[in-house]
Symmetry: none
Subunit: 212 residues, 2 copies
Amino acid sequence: MEQLEPFTYNHEDNIKNLNTYQDHDRKFKSKNLEAERRRRKKLSDRQLELRSLVPVITKMNKATIITDAIAYIEDLTKCVDHLTDQLLQMDKETDCVLGENMKPDGETTTSTAAIEKDIINNWGITKPEVHVIKVDGGRLWIKMVFEKKKRGGLTKVIEAMAVLGFDLIDTSVTTSKGAVLFTTFLEVICGGTMLPDAARIKEFLFEVVRNI
Amino acid sequence: MEQLEPFTYNHEDNIKNLNTYQDHDRKFKSKNLEAERRRRKKLSDRQLELRSLVPVITKMNKATIITDAIAYIEDLTKCVDHLTDQLLQMDKETDCVLGENMKPDGETTTSTAAIEKDIINNWGITKPEVHVIKVDGGRLWIKMVFEKKKRGGLTKVIEAMAVLGFDLIDTSVTTSKGAVLFTTFLEVICGGTMLPDAARIKEFLFEVVRNI
DNA sequence: CCGAACACGTGAAAC
DNA sequence: TGTTTCACGTGTTCG
């Protein structure tokens, strides 16, 4: 085909020349040829690693590997959600059982109703103070100052920490004249990437300490 | 160098011709040009989708996106493992409790019996350590070292403090490699169900930390 | 023979 | 500045 005449690029020759005169003759070599090769290799390695992590691979294509990885991540997140739901439900049940057992009059009030009642009754006078600082990937530093209005309030705070999946490394609680200073350095159990943003944690904890 | 003579490929010319005569003149067009474009777009889209699924992206690089996805998958699997462990443990516990509660003869097994049973069942590897020191009339200093076997254990401790009618003045909790050091300086509230007898408090707390 | 998948070197552009 | 990342069109291989 004379149409293809101007296009006389020969890849094999080019490769051969590159390999032969790799360091001596740079006439046909871009400056970033080796860098590009490194980049390609790195990307390829990552994709290989990703493939090795995903259990079910429908096809060996690069695109399908990513698709399978996406499906796997979705499955995993769904699994995590389901498990946490189950765990929370179970936590709530055991709490309910304990609460009922401790009640002397034997009245069966659900914990949600009790919480609602608490919300109505305890209208905070002083606004609680909550600080959440992300130290690194999976570590947080939290400081809270709030007013202790009833006994067992600290239990709720520690409970909230457990619900959030926090592993308290170093915690200090100081009480003085009805005010509580709670500071903690903690690690997120489920891993750094699962970490919700500090603002959300702060909001959640604010609601927690608001109701105690 | 005549060796490199055949390399007359001109990318710009090729692009220009492609843009100008995209559908009319296919002189410089490979047969699989459009297919390759489709493939690239598909792959790019998948990577975009993957990126949108991973919450923490350190860099926007294609390689780092995959790296982050790998880290995310590892975190997720770790989280799933952890949650299933917890769930299994909790299932076992509730089974134990329910089994006792479900006694058909209606016999009211006291909690002490349950505790005794637990003592028999759970033979801890490391014996927990509990110290209770009476500072003055209504003030105590407590130090406990125990092994954390499950999440929410700290909640039980704080709960026990509330049950005992203790008002925690200054508390410190330090965790390291599954071991927990809990120290507190507290005040006994008048309405407490238990008298501040150090030995009895120590026994009670020992049972509490033994079961967590 | 053809479509799909891939690695390659390259120029442009971003940081 | 220059190093790095990206999209591009290409030739080749495989089913």
